[in-house]
Symmetry: C2
Subunit: 392 residues, 2 copies
Amino acid sequence: MKINGNFLNLKDSYLFSTVAKKIKEFQSANPGVKVYRLGIGDVTLPLVPAVIEAMHKAVDEMGRKETFRGYGPEQGHDFLRDAIANYYADKKVKISSDEIFISDGAKSDLGNILDILDPSDKVLIPDPVYPAYVDTNIMAGRKIDTALGNQANSFKPMPDENYKADIIYICSPNNPTGSVYNYEELKAWVDYANRQKALIIFDCAYEAFVGDESLPTSIFQIEGARTCAIEFCSFSKTAGFTGTRCGYTVVPQELVFDGVKVNSLWNRRQCTKFNGVPYIVQRGAEAVFSKEGNRQIRENIAYYKENARIIHEALEKKGIWHIGGVNSPYIWLKCPDGMTSWEYFDHLLTKAHVVGTPGAGFGEMGEGYFRLTAFGDRETTQEAVKRILEFS
Amino acid sequence: MKINGNFLNLKDSYLFSTVAKKIKEFQSANPGVKVYRLGIGDVTLPLVPAVIEAMHKAVDEMGRKETFRGYGPEQGHDFLRDAIANYYADKKVKISSDEIFISDGAKSDLGNILDILDPSDKVLIPDPVYPAYVDTNIMAGRKIDTALGNQANSFKPMPDENYKADIIYICSPNNPTGSVYNYEELKAWVDYANRQKALIIFDCAYEAFVGDESLPTSIFQIEGARTCAIEFCSFSKTAGFTGTRCGYTVVPQELVFDGVKVNSLWNRRQCTKFNGVPYIVQRGAEAVFSKEGNRQIRENIAYYKENARIIHEALEKKGIWHIGGVNSPYIWLKCPDGMTSWEYFDHLLTKAHVVGTPGAGFGEMGEGYFRLTAFGDRETTQEAVKRILEFS
């Protein structure tokens, strides 16, 4: 038997393990010194009361014969698909329930979607970027090119008509840079994809952080997207579901390649290799769209965004170049004094006792940059910011 | 962009949709006539109190900042991996926690495991069988051969030394036939796989139904399995988790192909394309292994097995050839009077008002056979059996 040899082309990912190791070493050498973490990509606020209440109710249902639920539809329960369709309707985007597939998170579907695409497809991925886009395509043996982000384009690379792509990744609001494409920019990508007969993989996991109404929160707000894009969404950052696991993937009926409906292909993939999301979790996710649930998650998002504002304001005051932190939980900054990403990491850790994430971990174009996140406590964020100002 | 053309080689699965259509037509034509369903592959008893209690507790934890859980390990929480390792230890099988990967169900992992294997690997799949083994390999473009089950081998095909396989599927207790390999038979497969340097994909989803202590309930009870097998387990039928979604996959550290540890490959796959099972669900699964939880799930399994015994006894009395139904929730019978699977389906539906599953839906060798399941109500099962006796 042969293993999939493409796995041997993967680089080991040392980013977060190296971060953890360096913190541990620092703490061993400096016992009792408090470390302020702004590197964390995970939420810290608990699930909101409406979600908790809905899940308790669902657990009770599962314990009684009359209300017990066995296998659900692989695509998700109608109550949740309908709630999501209504959420899109509120954004003036018409998505039908049969275009919505409930997932156990955007990460799973962003990887699994590649099952239905040909290994010969050529992939265009931005740099810097969430590393899983690259790794999942290396596993499938696809050729990868990068769309380079830099200060000149505010880390929002634009299409190059001379380049022929088959699969295009876009993440907006972006992880790690926090940059957000506007309508015109996204329209340029959609038009380019339609001309090239390419597929856009649109990672929409941070859409709930967009407060500026002039910015799109779904690729389907762009004319023409229904013939070229799949959108991947998540309750992880929107509603604190990182440990509860639920997301959704939108595959329009008009999306057709080689004469085949992608919606049918994805449906077949999911029915064969997936068995749906836990009923209890789907009831929790449904509660996110209730009036009370929505008000509660908006409060949590506002809390994180206030953290982002505090970081943003401090960097502004200090004159450190940065983007993000307004319509995004991520702040992306240029390391001061020409430091590399890891030099700045060491500097902040040892001098300010603050932890962030080296930009070099997100791709070559991330070298010399640094990511801070807004998912911490208010007190931690305030103290960390004070220390960054003092020691940068 | 090109789609994965292998998907076009999939046959549409009409089995359960045709069953549903025929029932609907019968009921329209015969309003008020009650239909007794023994075709269902889903559990009907609710989750046991110990699981419900554990999940309520976990939901509460998720609602408080001090006990909230964000991203968990992709491989699963230690508390559950350790509980499963202990479950194996009770069977006198040494499995370490780092060989156990918590999944959202055996179906997902049985499909996703193919990611780490080469598309050129030649696959040996029993016939009749759970259709997903075939479909997931067609999607990946692999060459498939079948190991034929029939009455002569009690639907337990054995290895053929002249045939060279790379990947071998075994499901024991079997779906749909209910047959169970004994130690000697499984040893023959393990020895064959080791000689051929092949991988055994061992689907162990029904192991909890084995009551006969002379039969194996894990492939790792067989000497030599640690160098050739991966085992896929599920809480679905064991503890009624079909709508709650949890399973586990055991990948031994000694499993090495092309000089690469399969455990590391699978770990990399899961870390890149999966984000773990909901914390709440993992706490529910942990409770299955508590003293009280185990007693409760055993009661439910005994209830289903009594249904199986009732069906088994009736077929015995009527002299209808059948297997399964003793160490399995499935009963596999030969359609009487030379009827085809679908003829017998129609006969039972229209005459006895009983629904089962045509064996032909599980592969060519299933033609002329029929599957009944023990997952129904006691009353439904008793009445259905009475009617089968009367009209067969």
